[in-house]
């Protein structure tokens, strides 16, 4: 298509308005897959791709990311995807959730954030 347009421009008035058919093909953020890379702790190393709009990290049998450490509560932390953002929540855990070394109640995550749940460390990826 581009070759055609350039040839066309050579043959006709170069100042003519060119209607291009080229359109942006973005990977919009709300279509990208969020991920967690576990780099420390039970089950590491592994990469977890978020399926659906919610993911539970904990010691409970129904946690999607199941950890066995006693420092981890049954439903310790929750990740929720809303629109383009993935938000981390401390689900009233005993030992808290740490984001880049700081204890947080909740936080909108950004690529490369380090999450500590008990003695398990994850790196969040925006995809």
């Amino acid at each position: 298509m581009m070759a055609y347009i350039f040839n066309y421009m050579k043959e006709v008035d170069a100042t003519a308005i060119i209607i291009s058919t080229a359109r942006a093909r973005r990977r919009h953020r709300d279509t990208r897959r969020h991920s967690l890379e576990q780099i420390e702790g039970d089950g590491s190393p592994r990469v977890i791709l978020l399926e659906g709009d919610e993911l539970i990290i904990g010691r409970g049998n129904d946690a999607q990311v199941r950890l066995t450490s006693k420092s981890v509560s049954r439903h310790h932390a929750i990740l929720r995807v809303r629109g383009t953002d993935c938000t981390l929540y401390d689900n009233n855990s005993n030992n808290g959730v740490f984001l880049n070394g700081v204890k947080v109640h909740s936080a909108v995550l950004r690529d490369g954030d380090a999450i500590l749940v008990g003695d398990n460390e994850f790196i969040y990826g925006e995809g």
């Binding site: 880049n100 109640h105 950004r110």
Partner: protein
């Protein structure tokens, strides 16, 4: 008792939407502080727009909001006309002056909603926005002790201390510590001794669970913008160390501060605190982060 602090706008001077501000955020000053059901909004910079949208999704939607405005500069009031709860019937917004009859913060917010600046007047909104007052800089509001204190900033500025049941938050942005301390900014080396800080401010911040402090510059940036009314992050760190604060949050990021630069600022200030033996957490205010005290 549960106390929460959430950051909705962290940037100073002007909104800075950019690929390099995506982590810490580009919206100007707005911090939500909650003690149980008492909800305080510290400043109304552009970050307040997202706070407003969020408030209307909560169950139940809060019906009474307490506004503590530090001063009139644009980056602290510019978001107010876009605060969605303004247009919700039944919502009551109290805007506090520092003493009885001081309706200057209310007039600031209403003054930017005249036709020259914005198409909707504060008289025409559906909520009730009313001036209210601290008493000689202090007041108990829904069981929360609120006190205001003067800061060093061109045109004047006030910080706020909020406390309840032993939990204490200090919001002290737009403040030039170096000049407030008596213009004794001698060393620009991280290995130097603790800098002299204003004793009154040390006492105000004493043992705070959270100190949200102006840290717009590093030392090099501060020297280039002396008397602009903002502090070096290292001076903010020294204030927090001397006040034995538990968690220092660097706030009012410079529009030129990149996410990478702020990551480094945090590391440098944390290193300084550690070197002085202070068991203190240091972080940089980041949009969308909520802390529980």
């Amino acid at each position: 008792m549960a106390a929460f602090v959430k950051f909705w706008g962290t940037r100073g001077s002007i909104p800075t939407p950019s690929s390099w501000t995506r982590v810490y955020g580009g919206n100007t000053s707005c911090v939500e502080v909650r003690f149980d059901d008492a909800l305080f909004v510290c400043d109304a910079g552009s970050g307040i727009r997202e706070l407003g949208k969020d408030l209307l999704t909560r169950k139940p939607v809060p019906k009474e909001l307490h506004f503590l405005i530090t001063h009139a500069h644009w980056d602290h009031i510019q978001g107010f006309p876009f605060f969605a709860p303004l247009y919700v019937p039944g919502m009551k917004i109290r805007v506090y002056g520092r003493h009885a009859g001081d309706d200057s913060p209310y007039r600031l917010l209403s003054g930017q909603m005249t036709s020259n600046y914005f198409p909707v007047s504060l008289r025409d909104v559906d909520s009730r926005v009313v001036p209210d007052y601290l008493h000689e800089g202090k007041r108990d509001i829904q069981g929360v002790r609120v006190s205001a204190f003067a800061l060093n900033h061109p045109g004047g500025c006030f910080g706020y201390c909020l406390s309840k049941d032993g939990k204490k938050v200090v919001y002290a942005t737009d403040n030039e510590l170096e000049i407030q301390a008596g213009d004794v900014f001698p060393d620009q080396t991280d290995s130097g001794p603790l800098r002299k800080m204003p004793q009154e401010l040390i006492e105000l911040a004493r043992d705070a669970d959270l100190l949200i402090a102006d840290a717009q510059y590093d030392d090099e940036g501060y020297v280039a913008r002396r008397a602009w009314g903002h502090s070096s992050c290292f001076s903010a760190t020294d204030l927090a160390i001397q006040a034995k604060v538990k968690h220092l949050v660097l706030f009012h990021h410079d529009p030129e501060d990149t996410d990478r630069g702020l990551d480094q600022k945090v590391l440098d200030c944390q290193h300084r605190a550690t070197r002085h033996g202070a068991p203190m957490v240091v972080s940089a205010a980041r949009e969308g982060v909520e802390l529980k005290l």
